[in-house]
């Protein structure tokens, strides 16, 4: 790796932040004027949302199962195994559902977006699109942002539901809990603020996945090797951003709802 001066490195990073901000801002602004590419939004919703459902269902379900199993040991020492439902539902709805869904969709779609746009960039298809009078931000970036934000919201609900169902399965079959009691404690454990907190996070995560994927895709240089690099960077950066933003949103929500 060639040595670069700290000044050049810093300038590069600041430039990247500026470019990312401009791309995100332009994409959002483009949603408020025509032309809008509705067909592309539906195609992306299908690809990102419906396409991600199997992995989200599996991840949510087995996370719920593991949560129930792991919590048994801790709860048993307090004689509170009957509270498993509360623990699973709170963990899934407030934290694990949104974060795991974000990370799974990031792995699947930030990489997909970056590689698709990156391939288009290195084969001059982005330039061709501009030469044909189409704004690539309007046509490629904005629909992906809208589709990812909307679909991640619903995918999180699905992950939460399957997580609670997974917890129920383990609690009933392995821990010997009563189904009604599990569902009752799950329901009773949740308050309005928990749901709001859990469903605010995917809005941010969806935005991060789409914009980071598009940013690295559109910045791709250096042929097929560059596409591979852009894909990796998109997944790494979006995953880290999701975790950081999760912390910030959690803190903000605690400030608003108090717990």
């Amino acid at each position: 790796m060639p040595f670069r001066s700290p000044e050049a490195y810093l300038k590069e990073k600041i430039q990247a932040v500026q470019d990312y901000s401009v791309l995100s801002g332009t994409a959002i602004a483009s949603l408020f004027s025509s032309p809008r590419y509705w067909a592309d939004i539906y195609i992306q919703m299908d690809s990102i949302g419906v396409g991600s459902m199997p992995i989200i269902i599996l991840t949510g379900f087995f996370t719920g199962c593991v949560l129930a199993l792991q919590s048994e040991t801790a709860l048993q020492s307090f004689g509170a195994v009957s509270m498993t439902g509360t623990l699973v539902s709170l963990s899934m709805v407030k934290e694990l559902g949104p974060v795991l869904t974000g990370l799974m969709v990031s792995g699947r779609n930030a990489s997909g977006i970056a590689s698709e746009l990156g391939s288009m960039k290195v084969t001059e298809q982005i330039d061709a699109m501009r030469a044909l009078g189409t704004d690539p931000i309007r046509k490629l970036v904005a629909p992906r942002i809208v589709a990812t934000v909307i679909m991640l919201f619903f995918l999180t609900i699905i992950a939460d539901a399957f997580g609670i169902a997974g917890g129920a399965m383990v609690s009933i079959t392995v821990l010997g809990l009563n189904a009604t009691s599990y569902l009752h404690t799950s329901y009773r454990g949740l308050v309005h603020g928990d749901i709001v907190q859990g469903l605010t996070k995917p809005l941010f995560s969806g935005f991060i996945i789409a914009t980071v994927g598009c940013y690295f895709g559109l910045k791709t240089t250096g042929g097929t090797q560059g596409v591979g690099r852009a894909t990796t960077q998109a997944v790494v950066v979006s995953s880290v951003f999701i975790i950081i933003v999760d912390l910030l949103v959690t803190r903000a929500m605690i400030g608003i709802f108090g717990s």
């Binding site: 032309p35 001059e124 501009r130 030469a131 044909l132």
Partner: protein, 283 residues
């Protein structure tokens, strides 16, 4: 004086611009502190074909991208149809591009779209009714003799066929200016002459102003000394005893070397140039 007619930035009134279709004035651009083009000034009149020659890496493709507003110069002025594009908002440039066709070096076809959808791309964007779109796509593909490939995907086509589809995509909206970026690069001689024949056909049938980048001298001279013969459907040498002594007077040459213009003029001036570098380059 020839005129170029285009809609203005707002897309309303039609502007009759008396003057060159393309005008570069003192244009310079650098990438990562490497100067690619410096102080480039030239103009292209309506109906002219400007052939841009030069060794590899001298900024020929960059010049073409500047002419289409795909790149912004560091300094200088670029006027297309009389409108300054270096200071024009992006939305205005998109409007202007609807009058410009561009053929990319590697075709740049959308690989997930069929030939029909690739050629029809601009018409779909302009919300042209589907019946008319299909009719015009077939017409454009007939022009490049590729109507049989209408349902194929770009991956199913050869390099020459892809280049022809790219030409069909560029001409479908009857542009006032066509930019060809090395349309024969990487093709075998027979396919190259087919592509040059298509460029010539477009020039002689529609009299479209064009900028053509090439590093193949034989292609450049074929364009300067031949014309499209509608009767035979091929190219034919211009008669030596004709008004221009066998040379197409609408074809001009511009030669770049190391980012600067080393020659700009007619075919005759090029052939009789006394510049030692130009003479060596032509040999």
């Amino acid at each position: 004086m020839p005129t170029a007619t285009v809609t203005d930035q707002s897309g309303d009134a039609i502007t009759s611009h008396p003057g060159p279709v393309v005008a570069f004035e003192d244009v310079s651009i650098a990438f990562d502190e490497k100067v690619v083009l410096k102080n480039i000034s030239f103009s292209v009149e309506r109906g002219q074909t400007q052939i841009i020659l030069g060794p590899a890496g001298t900024g020929k493709s960059v010049l073409l991208k500047l002419a289409n507003g795909l790149l912004c110069p560091d300094s200088g002025s670029i006027r297309i149809f009389g409108q300054e594009i270096t200071t024009m908002p992006e939305r205005g440039v998109y409007k202007l591009r609807s009058h410009i066709g561009m053929v990319f070096q590697e075709s740049a076809l959308f690989d997930s779209l069929s030939v029909e959808d690739n050629v029809a791309y601009r018409l779909h964007e302009e919300r042209v009714p589907e019946d008319e779109v299909h009719k015009r796509v077939v017409e454009a593909l007939k022009f490049v003799e590729l109507e049989a490939a209408i349902a194929k995907l770009p991956s199913e086509l050869s390099g020459g066929m892809r280049r022809r589809v790219s030409i069909a995509r560029a001409i479908i909206s009857n542009p006032d200016l066509i930019l060809y970026d090395s349309p024969t690069a990487g093709l075998d001689p027979i396919t190259s002459s087919t592509i040059i024949e298509l460029v010539m056909k477009q020039r002689d049938v529609s009299h479209t102003t064009s900028l053509l980048v090439t590093h193949r001298l034989q292609d450049a001279f074929a364009l300067a000394t031949h014309h499209y013969d509608a009767a035979t459907g091929g190219m034919k040498p211009l008669p030596k005893d004709g008004p221009n002594h066998g040379i197409d007077d609408s074809t001009k040459f511009l030669i770049l070397n190391e980012g600067s213009i080393v020659f700009h003029g007619t075919t005759e001036e090029l052939v009789h140039s006394t510049d030692p570098w130009v003479k060596e380059y032509l040999q």
